[in-house]
């Protein structure tokens, strides 16, 4: 993953609360088995409306999404963050996020920026008024700046571990495997009643003709 110090770019405003993951990417896109190529699924239903903000030519190349409260509620599908990433977004600014969604973002190098509601509203208004308005998310200083909105070096909230990983471009799995010895020790002291699975692929019913 790329290391991220700060992101400066233009923004796309999505001024609605409770935008759920079914809106961010419809479930039909979840049939794909690839890891990339989800950009066309992003807000697919809303994009059928020619007036939708993502369809405005002047919004092309935006790297920051400005959203309303409880953004990303609903399912745990990572296809939603993938679609945002594949479209070109690098940071999402919102007054609040759904938990699972927020946790998913840094795992693929996207920055969840939880910004106070008043500042969010100002940024939303400024980027809505002028698509060329630049917004800066400084991950090192942990601040948002959007001069046109009168938002300058306003602090935002992000989990420290997520911030560390984004700044250092670290893979979460490598970080965990550094603790292999501790994991092993835990495995040795698990309670006797913990259930096990058998590793087998169960055969299909007779005559069902299922492909396996």
């Amino acid at each position: 993953m790329d290391k991220i110090d700060s992101i400066t770019g233009t923004a796309v405003p999505i001024d609605a609360s409770d935008v759920d993951t079914d809106q961010i990417i419809p479930a039909v896109w979840m049939k794909r088995v690839e890891r990339t190529g989800f950009q066309d699924g992003l807000f697919a239903k809303w994009r059928r409306d020619p007036g939708f903000v993502l369809n405005q030519p002047e919004r092309r190349g935006a790297t920051i999404l400005v959203a309303g409260p409880n953004f990303g509620c609903g399912s745990s599908r990572e296809h939603a963050p993938w679609a945002l990433r594949d479209y070109g977004f690098k940071a999402i600014i919102a007054p609040s996020f759904a938990d699972i969604f927020r946790n998913n973002l840094p795992n693929i190098g996207l920055v969840p920026v939880t910004l106070d509601e008043a500042s969010c509203r100002k940024v939303m208004a400024a980027v809505t008024a002028d698509a060329a308005t630049p917004v800066t998310v400084d991950l090192v200083a942990r601040t948002v700046t959007c001069t046109a909105a009168g938002v300058v070096d306003v602090p935002f909230v992000i989990e420290e571990n997520a911030r560390y990983r984004l700044i250092n471009g670290k893979d979460l799995i490598d970080l965990a495997l550094d603790f292999d010895e501790q994991i092993r020790r835990h495995e040795e002291r698990r309670p006797f009643w913990m259930p096990r699975t058998n590793g087998q692929v169960e055969p299909a019913f007779e005559l069902s003709g299922v492909e396996q």
Binding site: S76, I173, H186
Partner: protein, 464 residues
Amino acid sequence: MAERTLVERIWAEHVIEGTGEELIFIDMHLVHEITSPQAFEGLRDTGRRVRRPDLTIATADHDVPTSSRQVPLADEIGRRQLMLQIRNCREFGVELHPMNSLGQGIVHVIGPQMGLTLPGMTIVCGDSHTATHGAFGAVAFGIGTSQVEHVLATQTLRMAKPKSMLVRLDGTISPQATAKDVALAVIRAIGTDGGTGHLIEFQGPVIDRMSMEGRMTLCNMAIEAGARSGLIAPDETTFAYLEGRERAPQGADWERARAEWSTYRSAPDAVFDTVVELDLDGLGPQVTWGTNPGQTTDIDGAVPDPAALADPVAREAAVRALDYMGLRPGQRIAEIPIRTVFIGSCTNGRLEDLRAAAEVVKGHTVADGITALVVPGSEKIKRQAEAEGLHEVFTAAGFQWRNPGCSMCIAMNGDVVEPGTHAASTSNRNFEGRQGPGARTHLVSPRSAAATAISGRLAASLAD
């Protein structure tokens, strides 16, 4: 040491290292075909193995057709995904219950059914409704595909401990109300973000009297209140459900395990970050009128007027929802024209749900113009229901009796609600387009869904 909540105890028993975001051990990893292909591909790319295949189990539920299961499937993309899952599980040595096998079913139905869901465990799945397993006193939550890969590779997750929330449910609900109505009433009261950042522990007389199936329904929908998960401390109801289950401890181990599990409960004076007390005395059947599960009212009531809402955000959301739903303020719920009835899903696809619906349906006929389907939560439930003759009750009434899967809850297998029409559904989400493009979903209990199919309008019983 400060008195602990149940979640704090289970969490502490699983922390491997760290402060703030801790590395925790995962006791069971449930895998389905939609959110795992990219995780297995990630393992292959990096030359990693599944660390604990013996703590991993997979099934196919989201994509599988529920009508014909003749292979090869007509849906080429779905077929590719199912075949890839079989290949992945073979290659990495993961137990799999594929389509057309006896163990197949919705992932959150088969875990408890097999006895793989036990008190005191940590359970994850790339699916938000993993919260279902919390009904057994387990810490169970949904994760993204990167985390699926993380758990496959390390059997751990890096996470901040959720805040604790106690939702205490007092009173006696009406005989017509079910666990589903309790779930909707809770979300109606605390909102779709009422539980954000928290893991909810449900307590109180309403819970004490609730069946295991009902508790699964309630915990399943904790996520719809924005919570990371929900959980209920194990009690005699829990033990009665678990005893004799295939993968649960047996014999002397059972007695020892049961004794330990009895201690898995929050201390009486444990301090929760947030406490909500709801008096559900006399609670009647609920129904959603809008496009999130918090937009709920009494099934014998009317569509609310957004203008009466004090919160501007809620008001605007309500206006948007009514526009999408094609409803007007003050309209009686009973006047909403229903075209589709869906009984099933990880919320309400268990045997108890099918029995409750069949009891209402018995001897009646589905109203003209209504398409009604029953989709059992698992192959075993389907067979048990058939052994009890429930399928005959449904088919005689004009219901379609289908094969197990997620079906019309997520509408990615071809089972969809027609655009612009209203559906009464026992599933968990009434989001725009969730049950198909333009679908207008009303979440209800299995009893209400059955009564709706027969009477042709949203209703909780036929006596109305």
